[in-house]
Structure formats: structure tokens, C-alpha cells
């Protein structure tokens, strides 16, 4: 009896928390489907009186949403693919290749994790300006090509690959790169997927750096474009909600499809010891 009551209370709290957590996102979708001005009423409506897609159409016809969608997709995809290769190579080297100073180098890198990225941003901007890549896609891609966290994640996972497999391939005369490509990469596929999702979402959601380095309207990523619009269109609730939906939806879909890998990555990342 007492157990049942406890379970009931538990489910009640869980359900209320779930409702509160999901509410802002569901409400965002609902308002994006309302007529212009409908949400600015008292009491605030929860549902559209009549569903309309006019704001989505407006986003694409007059606010060039397709442009920002393309920029975000292109940047997130290229950073993900390139950094995956770079980080995987380095993570593998730290896990499996013996070389002098390996531990010290790895520890030095990890210490870099406490340095907030913002510290590097001012000189980085100046460097990239003199290299002529400010206000280009390359300005966003280049600093994202390698990440300490990514290297760490790959290394932790690759430690579990048995040395005997690598030695066997070596004795069979495989080249070092061949071993990496044909033996190691297939074995660490789960962590590669995890890191790919992390990087994709991180790049997609990133705001401060693209805001700094992209000044040309045509190059804006979705979050930058949305932030700029939201300052200009403060009154257009419904339109801004549609913009928010367009920004959030792609990452949400990726997450829901691959959440097992994502959550596993957080757990690996937290097992620093």
C-alpha cells in the first residue's frame, strides 16, 4: 500500500517535470502555426485557432531561410567530417602508439580544457583577419578542425582495443596507416558516431564565434540569423517561433534518432577518474 502510494507520488512528480520541460518546445511549435498577432492576447492561447503555415512560407520567401539553413548544414557537416578524422588520428596515437613524452603531452592537452575558448577569440580573430579568412566559411571551419575533448573521447575508447590485434597486423606487414584505417577505425565506430553527433550539434548550435567571424548577411548561420532577426522583429512572435522551430528541428531530429550514442558519449566523457 505504502509502496503504491510512493510510486504514485513518483510518477506524478515525473510527469509534472516532463510537462514543464517539454512545454516551451511544444508551445514554440504551436505559436509558429498561429495567425499573425494571435499569440499576443490575454489570456495567452495554447493552440492556434486555425493552423497556418504562412510564417514558414514568409521565412523562406522574404527572410532567406534557405540560405542560413544551407550555411548551417554546410558548416556543421564539414567541421564534423574533417575534425572526426583529425581527432581520431590523434586519439589513436595517444592510446596505442608508444612515443617519448606521450603522457606528458596528453596531460598538457587536457590542462588546456580549463582555458575558456573566449580567451583565444580576440587574437584568433586578428590572425584570421590577416590570413584573409574572416567573413568566409573557412573562418568558422579552421578553428573547429581539432578539439581536445574529441581527442580525449577517442583515446579513452581506443584504449580498449586489444594490442594483440595491432601487433598481428604489424607482423602481417600492414602499414601504420593501414592498421589505423582497416583495424582501428572499424573497432571504434561507436565512439566515432558519438563524436560526430557531438561535433555536429556543437557546431550547429554555436553562436559567439560565428557571430564574430561572419559579418556578411549571406554567410550567417541559423542561430546568428535568428538572433539578428529577433532583435529586429521583436513584435512578430509567430514568425520568430517559426524561425526557432527551423533552427531547433534539425538537431532535435538528429538527437532523437541517435540519442543512444549521444548519451553514451556524455558518460564516457565524465569518466575521467
Amino acid at each position: 500500500m505504502k509502496r503504491k502510494l510512493l510510486a504514485l507520488v513518483l510518477y506524478f512528480v515525473l510527469a509534472v517535470t516532463a510537462a514543464l520541460t517539454a512545454f516551451p518546445l511544444l508551445w514554440m511549435v504551436s505559436v509558429s502555426l498561429m495567425q499573425t498577432g494571435e499569440a499576443s492576447a490575454f489570456p495567452p492561447p495554447l493552440w492556434p485557432a486555425a493552423v497556418t503555415f504562412e510564417h514558414y512560407i514568409e521565412l523562406f520567401t522574404s527572410l532567406h531561410m534557405e540560405r542560413y539553413l544551407f550555411n548551417s548544414l554546410l558548416l556543421a557537416t564539414s567541421v564534423t567530417l574533417l575534425s572526426l578524422l583529425v581527432n581520431a588520428m590523434a586519439g589513436y596515437a595517444f592510446a596505442k602508439l608508444r612515443f617519448p613524452g606521450r603522457h606528458r603531452l596528453f596531460r598538457t592537452l587536457l590542462a588546456g580544457l580549463v582555458i575558456p575558448a573566449q580567451v583565444a577569440m580576440l587574437p584568433l580573430f586578428l590572425m584570421l583577419k590577416y590570413l584573409g579568412v574572416v567573413n568566409t566559411y573557412a573562418g568558422v571551419i579552421i578553428p573547429g578542425l581539432a578539439s581536445i575533448f574529441g581527442i580525449f573521447l577517442i583515446r579513452q575508447y581506443t584504449l580498449s582495443v586489444p594490442d594483440s590485434l595491432l601487433e598481428a597486423a604489424r607482423i602481417d606487414g600492414a602499414s601504420e596507416f593501414g592498421i589505423f584505417r582497416l583495424v582501428v577505425l572499424p573497432l571504434i565506430k561507436p565512439i566515432l558516431v558519438t563524436l560526430a553527433i557531438f561535433t555536429f550539434m556543437g557546431t550547429w548550435n554555436d553562436f559567439l564565434w560565428p557571430l564574430i567571424v561572419l559579418t556578411d548577411n549571406d554567410l550567417y548561420t541559423l542561430p546568428v540569423a535568428l538572433a539578428v532577426f529577433s532583435r529586429e522583429h521583436v513584435q512578430d512572435n509567430e514568425l520568430m517561433m517559426a524561425g526557432a522551430v527551423m533552427t531547433v528541428l534539425p538537431v532535435l531530429v538528429v538527437f532523437l534518432a541517435l540519442q543512444r550514442y549521444y548519451i553514451q558519449g556524455i558518460m564516457v566523457g565524465s569518466l575521467k577518474g
Binding site: W27, P44, D163, N205
Partner: protein, 305 residues
Amino acid sequence: MSTAAHTAPAAPRNAAARAALWFLAPALTVITLFFGLPVLAALALSFTDFDIYGLADFGNVRFVGLRNYAHLIEHPLFWKALGNTFYFVLVGGPLSVAVSLGAALLVDARLVRFKAFFRTVYFTPVVTTLVAVAVVWRYLFHTRYGLLNYSLGFLGVAPIDWLGDPTWAMPAIILLAVWKNFGYNMIIFIAGLQSIPEALHEAARIDGAGLLQRFRYITLPMLAPTFLFVGVITMIGYFQLFAEPYVMTQGGPLQSTVSVVYLMYEEGFKWWNMGYAAAVAFVLFLIILAATLLQLRLQKEGGEG
């Protein structure tokens, strides 16, 4: 471990060392050039008067020693930004960790089914784009038409000007941040909870320990390493507050939501006072470093005591 590596002849081992160089070169080059070097350069930059004239011509840049830091100390807005940031870290951080732990305990409770469902729902805000949800919350916080004030109205609370009142703007941002972030730490806490041997709880239960006692004497001490990790990453993340005030309040009202990074952004990239902005960034770094070391120290002492 592997005997193969120990008995392997010297030549292949050198080959491995050479290979390591090639495997590491791309990553180390990028990190050195585009992270390590800029961090050092930021320190150098903070000792110069680099401004819009310097941006036009390097020749206009002069070494000014500690003048930027001196200016910082006299700049009321810097202290305001520092105070706002500490408010966000010291109130928002612990609140977020507490909510995360509560959610983890709920989801991980033995009686609960559909764990995966609840976990996914709680985690969803974490993956959303901060700018987008800040836009959404800005409307939820609307004084007249916002659902938050509408709901509070049922409890007899008069409408609050969340984003227009200096007293309430930071709490509003904290509310958004906690909603957005608690799922992340929840996952880490769930992993921590699941690593506690069930036998410990079993033994305590046989000895007659109640739910609260087991939480106090088993769960909390066993979670100590998790707390340290969660505490450090949450704090580091919260010190970097930027997008929320940028989108929701633009630092206002009355500069009550200007954070240190927001100040750095405005000074550096709006007014191009890059030398001064570098000093702001460096002070933030030193504060984060000190706070991290302090937390590690406290944890160590707590562990020994």
C-alpha cells in the same frame, strides 16, 4: 600489459614513434596555431592599447603595461559584469546541479518504469539551440502576454516585468539556463547512481536504514567524485554566460545582465577595444582557473575529513 610490445624488436617501435608524429601532426598543428598561440597572444594583447586604429594599422599599437588592468579596476561596468556573472554562477550553478540530481534520483528510482522516456524528455532541452530557446523564453517571460505571468496569476502573484526589471532579469535568465542544462548533468548523475553497488543499499536496508538515511550515508558519499566533475564543468560553463543576455536582454535593464563575456564581446568586437577586451578575457580565465583549483582543493579536504 602486452608482452608483444615488450619483446618487439627496437626497429618497429621506432616506426611506431615515427607514425605517431604523423598521426598527431594535424591535430597538434591546429590546436597549437588556433588555440595555444592565440591564448598566449591574448596575454600579450592585454598589455597593449590595440584599438580600432591598431586594427587599421599595426604601427599604431603600443605596449602599455598593466594600464588595461588598471582601467578595468576603475571601470564600474567591469565590476557590474563580474557581479552579474558571479550571481549567475553562484545561484544558477548550484540550482542546476540540484535539479539535475533530483531528476536523476527520480528517473533512476527502482519503482519507476518508462525510464528511457522520461530521460529523453528531460534531456531534450540540452540539444536545442540556445539562441532559439532564448527567443522562445523571451515570449514566455512577456509581462502582459507571457504564459509565466499568466500561470503565476493563478497563485495570486502580480505580473512581473521579468526582462524589464533589473531585479528579475537575472533570475529569468537563470530559469532559462537551468531548464536548458539540467538534463546534461542528470545523465552524469544517473551514471554515478548506477555505479553504486546495489549490495550497499541492500545491506543498509537489512540494517533498517530508511530512504533518507540511505541517501545521506550511501548515495551522497558514493556520488562525491560525480559531484566534483559536475560541479567543475557546470561552473566553467556558467562563467561563460553570453547568448542568453545577448538575445533576451541585450545586457539590460540597467546593465543588470551584462556578463563578463558580454562585456568582452562589446568592448572587443563592437568598440574594437581589443587590448582592453583581452584583459577582460584574461581575468575571466584566471577566475575560472582559481575557482576550479578551489573546488578540487575543497573536494580533497572533504574526502579526507
